[in-house]
Symmetry: C3
Subunit: 435 residues, 3 copies
């Protein structure tokens, strides 16, 4: 398998362009914003779009009513729109019930969220399961509000409808699956998670022409309830998931940050850590914790799937998180390209991993006779170039995988893989079936 | 179980008062000093006092003759008592045989112990198993001794008699036992171990009104030979001891110091380490070593009981150890109260520990529907308060105990316990029988 | 077993003297240099010298043709010998084919090796398996070569013959073996490995009079092909090798450096690490890697023998490595004596190790009654001297070896061993058969 060609092309720029295209859409956990987003994605890959009716029981949850919004504003006493949904969809708390009403400043303040410590930013707020309505605005604007009568409008609907998610399967040589999952429920937040949606789309698109060992399942679904809905409808498929990544916030300059799966030492954990350590970036590796994105669901004890979380900056740990500062200026083609490369590197490890047996197990094979070894002995550093061969031959006892060897020998997996292929061509290594 | 009430009362002051009351008594490994001490304890708890005859074989040992002392002094040539047992019982080496004799300074010096490096302090010395006699004095006094004839008297007896120890059992819901053991063989040494005797007495007294899961066995016995005697007479009970602590030197401002049981990772070790790490003090955690107090006997390979040692300063490591400086000024109600709290915190962990299973194992349960979750999503720190719930639900797969979860989540055990009870009330957790 | 007497004698000086005696010989992987070296060794120990014919298949290899050299030089246009094999056998690349020819400077330069970064040193080069010829010289000399016609002579032969190696077996009480292996294929390099050949010879000589538990097999063979040849001819004996050391570069002032066996925690690894940590030197302990000396063959996956590598400086890591600076000035009797002591200390651990069971497992045995314990209790440091007894008694539960105990108690193995013998004499310990 090779995803190296896509690295040569300007994948970061294409991811950025797609993220920019879906950035303006007002997404929530249900509704037309999700549909519109998935239609954009479907222009790139053959996405299956699923609609699940309100009221459908899914694990411990129930698919909620569908929320849609057409317009929203606050008008002051002079009729001026001082807050306008059409300027930023963050201005309305997601799942706000409809309202059209005149009210005093005191009443209005009960329905306003701000960030006093970041007075220029609009916060992102939701209230999916408690009926409520609210506006979000900058704290500067909030402080300037005059004591007068306001008119507020939220032209939304909360009705029987559907939850929408998208799914794409790249079929590999086996039915064992690699799950790649991103949430599609956040409105105009560029990093969280237009970046993830766009990156997975470009990855799926590039995978289409590639023969892979594993099948790759891409899931673009609203956070929490979307993953729960997919799990509820696919309990029989869960056993096929051998590796998985939740992705989020892949476009900023921080991190990269990898949170291990609940298992802690799954192959995806080791592959991702290897890719990160080889990246030349300054990765942070974290143990699993039960707070985060949809790895919470995949790693719940009844599933316990080998699914980790890849981000650049860690969610919640940066000032831009869940604010209007998470805009297109906050993400860059370069960071998106790096993130893409990390994921394809980890996929490369998973695809290429395997266990081999040294056919000349007793003593070293005579590499020189086969033209595999530096011919002039005694050179101080002659062996440096041969270390990969020696490590692979020494550890290929049928019990160590190529990733084990790369870790032990502190060599890039790609070098181990390439050298293994060379040794196998000379019949010095044989793959161990079923390992 | 709750021992929190005793923490509110002034337990440190009560422990100090009892320690002060028993401090003047001249204890040894046998004799009336031990009896008098145990009678003082029996005024607080229903202590069983056992008398074991001299000559009784106990494991590899034999109960020694009983030693009692009425008076002792050294008189100079002018008949002045220059050393007087009635002023400090440390002046006479414990188990000194009787003597009344005139002798030169040179002869007398063969029978005097001092601490040249701590010239103002009287050392504490014993000779239980080699017949001998000696006086202990400050090195300053020793150096001032004039070359004249001295008269020495030790009015002691070493006769067939008994070894005496006290035992108290608080019965819990099960016959599984928690052993708490302190030595009662040291004369006027306040920290080592009037502090331990007094603390265990106050703990037993407060436990009396409390329903517990475990039965609590309190053992107040002379060091080494007392523990060996108890073990010899209770070999059939040893299997019931699931947890244990030897206590010593609980009243000074050092440490706290915990020495793990020989097993190294017994539940008591983990519970005590958890309590220490949560205490806000600066604990030292040490691996087991075979030198110390009666954990030496409990952790001998034929028993290998899960019994650790709790001290403040480490024995032998401070200048006051085994000298007249280990007096009532060296211990304080505050330090004793802190030590009491550490022990009851560890008991709280042991009593409250258990294994639960998440009844909604697949995906997260919908906490919001049950009123268990912050209703407004998107708040940067909303999840902080929910972390205990998420950790408990994620790790309650029937294999992790609450203490496992507290350690992994870096949360106080009490928070984990309280949250577990809340989740169990909502039927989200069920206890795993027998775990 | 005791090798302590040899430490008292001036073993370092005797090793140095033998190393100096074999230093001038021109060794290679075959030929008369090896034979002459082994004859020198045979003057000290009853060495078996084996001759294996060219063409013999050995594992994946074939015994090569035998190489011998009588003379070699380069003459300038005036007929002056500017390079002369008789002055340093490093001047000729090992296994150079015969040549006698006139040539221009440009042609000659195709056959010269130098060390530009170490311009005063002659490098050591070999070409065992590619037919070629070359001279080695200092870079200063190389740069001074004038553009004239040179005559070169290499009077060597590469013919059907034999590979020669030496073997010596010290028979112990059991047929379980301890392998000690050094290479004999390097020409005038004092540290690498005249030091190893000489040290093993002196060790074998001193062992001759000593009763040992293990049998000690000494193997002096050319590097790589020699070990492979021995392994091929002794596959049935390999199972008897319970411990082993490859030695190399034992005479310089660096290190000591120990590279663990592939198993990583074999008894030889633990014994050698213990000896190093007790040595007062500044040892470096390294994990196994598949590059180095003949541990590469012994630790190939089909054998996986518990064989480590002991050196002073690490090969390749010092400027003198594989140059004319590795001469007799580079090694010293003192360093050789220290290396000898490290090896005999590790042998002492392996010989003396065993598992015992405390016969008084319940409680501590009464050591005082048996005269084993300080009689005066209460002394602050009385117990220090008794710690070895207490550790041994506490851990002798049939599952901990004496080496386990020494490691855990942080005591020298010799102290643990001596104390074990004392306790066994008092019937407090019994050996566990078969452990």
């Amino acid at each position: 398998m090779s995803l190296e060609k896509p690295v040569i092309d300007d994948v970061g720029a294409e991811i950025f362009a797609l993220a920019a295209r879906i950035y303006p859409i007002c997404r929530s956990i249900t509704g037309n914003g999700v549909r519109q987003t998935l239609r954009e994605i479907a222009a790139h890959i053959a996405l299956d779009i699923h609609e699940v009716p309100t009221g459908t029981p899914v694990l411990d949850w129930t698919v909620p009513r569908e929320w849609n919004i057409r317009d929203a504003w606050i008008r002051n006493a002079r009729g001026e729109k001082i807050v306008d949904f059409s300027r930023s969809n963050l201005h309305v708390m997601s799942y706000s019930v409809p309202v059209q009403q005149q009210m005093s400043l005191a009443e209005l303040k009960q329905h306003i969220y701000t960030l006093p410590d970041q007075p220029d930013l609009i916060p992102y707020r939701t209230s999916y399961y408690a009926e409520n309505w609210a506006f979000c605005m900058s704290h500067r604007q909030f402080e300037a509000l005059r004591d007068e009568t306001y008119e507020v409008l939220i032209d939304s609907s909360l009705t029987e409808g559907h939850l929408t998610y998208g799914e794409y399967l790249h079929k590999g040589e086996t039915s064992d699956e690699f799950l790649l999952s991103a949430h599609v429920c956040h409105p105009s937040l560029a990093n969280d998670n237009c970046s993830g949606i766009a990156l997975l789309t470009q990855l799926a698109k590039r995978l289409a022409g590639v023969r892979t060992r594993y099948s790759y399942r891409f899931l673009l679904a609203p956070g929490t309830i979307g993953a729960i809905t997919w799990l509820a409808r696919n309990e029989d498929k869960v056993g096929s998931i051998k590796h998985g990544l939740v992705v989020s916030m892949l476009g900023d300059r921080g991190g990269p940050t990898y949170k291990k799966s609940r298992r802690g030492n799954a192959e995806i954990d080791r592959a991702m850590v290897h890719a990160l350590n080889q990246s030349g970036l300054s990765p942070a590796i974290e143990d699993f914790s039960p707070y985060g994105y949809d790895e919470r669901q995949y790693c719940s004890p009844g599933f316990n799937l080998p699914v980790g979380l890849l981000q650049r900056s860690k969610f919640g740990a940066i000032p831009e998180y869940h604010t209007s500062a998470d805009n297109l200026d906050f993400i860059s083609p370069q960071a998106l390209g790096e993130s893409y490369r990390l994921i394809t590197d980890a996929i490369g490890v998973i695809e290429g991993n395997g266990v081999f047996r040294n056919t000349v197990a007793k003593g070293e094979p005579q590499l020189g006779r086969r033209g595999l070894y530096g011919a002039i002995g005694g050179e101080k550093n002659a062996a440096a170039a041969n270390m990969a061969m020696l490590w692979i031959l020494n550890l290929s006892d049928g019990e160590h995988s190529l990733l084990d060897i790369a870790e032990r020998a502190k060599l890039p997996f790609a070098v181990v893989k390439r050298t293994t292929e060379l040794l196998a061509k000379h019949d010095l290594l044989k793959p161990v079936a079923g390992a």
